[in-house]
Symmetry: C2
Subunit: 355 residues, 2 copies
Amino acid sequence: MIDANRLRTFTEQIFVAIGCSEADARLSADVLISADLRGVDSHGVARLPGYIRLYDHGRLNPQPRIRVVHETPSTAVVDGDRGLGLVVGPAAMQIAIEKARVAGTGWVAVRNSNHFGIAGYHALLATEHDMIGQAMTHAAPLVAPTFSLEKMLGTNPIAVAVPALTEPPFLADFASTAVAYGKLEILQRKGQPAPIGWAQAADGGPTTDSNAVKNGGALLPLGSDREHGSHKGYGLGAIVDIFSGVLSGANYGPWVPPFATAGFMQADEGVGIGTGHFFGAMRIDAFRPADDFKAHMDTWIQRFRSAKAVEGQRVLVPGDPERAMEAERLVTGIPVLEPVIKSLDELGERFGVRL
Amino acid sequence: MIDANRLRTFTEQIFVAIGCSEADARLSADVLISADLRGVDSHGVARLPGYIRLYDHGRLNPQPRIRVVHETPSTAVVDGDRGLGLVVGPAAMQIAIEKARVAGTGWVAVRNSNHFGIAGYHALLATEHDMIGQAMTHAAPLVAPTFSLEKMLGTNPIAVAVPALTEPPFLADFASTAVAYGKLEILQRKGQPAPIGWAQAADGGPTTDSNAVKNGGALLPLGSDREHGSHKGYGLGAIVDIFSGVLSGANYGPWVPPFATAGFMQADEGVGIGTGHFFGAMRIDAFRPADDFKAHMDTWIQRFRSAKAVEGQRVLVPGDPERAMEAERLVTGIPVLEPVIKSLDELGERFGVRL
């Protein structure tokens, strides 16, 4: 277990060491540590070495000039200037929030960015202003559409955050796949098989091989197979890809560049500029008085949470499990796996920073 | 097989017979026949007797005054005045389109409506104006959230339509459940079991009973079970419910009134006004030049359609199967089941209209 603040300070110092401003380093660390606190370990400090590899490959600009390249009263397209998605995301969300103040809603498509951490972090920013927040991003292809042998889409998550009055915000934040790739990685490490419906084999058939994605297979869309609605998960992932990539002028589909590998795609191989995201902010009182809405959200949340449940279980409201995890890990610290600690120590050594 | 135009004329005449204007009757028939043509038989003329039952129960106003009750440059709340959702939907979408012309995007929450037919019909309206269209609606509770024994959400569909240049529009239109209830009804009629993962039994456990929903069970969210991401389908259905119900001032969750049963909920039992929907229109050139975007959509569509596929299958783009069905049924006519024909004949007899 490592104390969250110790991880936070270390992460900030690493980002400063590659040339980020103090403010950008602080924000980026906050996005990553927030993932660790909420139990989304795959999107936290475990990714720090990946961002540094991006920097080493010349794909990350530590001092980006993030700018609006096109706008209307309720929309903007933002060029992230190859900045950290962890910084570009909140900047774009802030523009969406400002648009919503004036026009009722704000919608920002982003290109020329890279991995932005957990989508929920960005969506939640809007709730502080009595707005509903939305954040989505595409990612490098790991997912086979229904009947496809090729990987065509990323895990393409979508997050929607809705403020309530006395209850904490509703926060749905989920990938458009049956499971995150991180869940297969956990089974790989343990040498255990995966449930049918998480991945497909190289021939497109069902498999329990937790290494299937590496062995020519692919992750499956939410729904797993045609009979259980995989075409719906594919549709959802496709919408995220079109909003994040085609609307913004970024790459899309199989052309989305990988997060941080050596064999990354050259700029001139793509169909657009870098990785894209899409953000939305809707002012509650552009629809009905904010306190009125938020009181009804309390009713919604309390009614769902009190639904009669299967024995031994409870019905949760989206956001509940992550919030409970955060409360726990703020006290206990964050369990960081040995290989992750090793990779962080290597970074520390390289940049003269101590974990 | 019944010719589409014969069904269309009959449906129009029935709506006129209950007091709808010629224009509203024509539009309503178009929404229903469009569902039949695209193969979504559960949302076509089979529903006509249900709308008439709504009318008989005093829950349907054939001459509604549809009005904007609140607005900002990019948003509006519309009161449907208990009109046919088939009419309220396109009216609200038109307001979203007008907002988008000026503000870049338009977002309309609707209350005091009822069943609006297929979501895709409404979303597609935006594409004729070089806009991306979105339509969603909640519905009466049939679905159990993850670990719930109670039915708390409807099948809550979402549709997103995106225009392309030479290709027909991308159209994703799907319920947030593993399957539509209509698929269980087909198996009920045949006396056949359902695949595991479509519904849960009264105790919340897995079942192959195609009558499970009637026998105290429930439909399952997209993802089917916790291990395969049912909490994601639940999250998606919840978002649709909050946008359609809580934002608009309609009912929500378990309080959403049933489509057209005798045992409908009294107005004073609810938490809002009638059934709700949510619509969005985003002007493409609020983000990038429309022809530029649409050319990239052609590339997106062609790349996905040409993905290497499982033997004997093709990778489809959302909207492909329904378009193929429409082309076929315009020629062959629409296969209407015997019980549906009988119920239409009864309506015809009552109103002096011949099918």
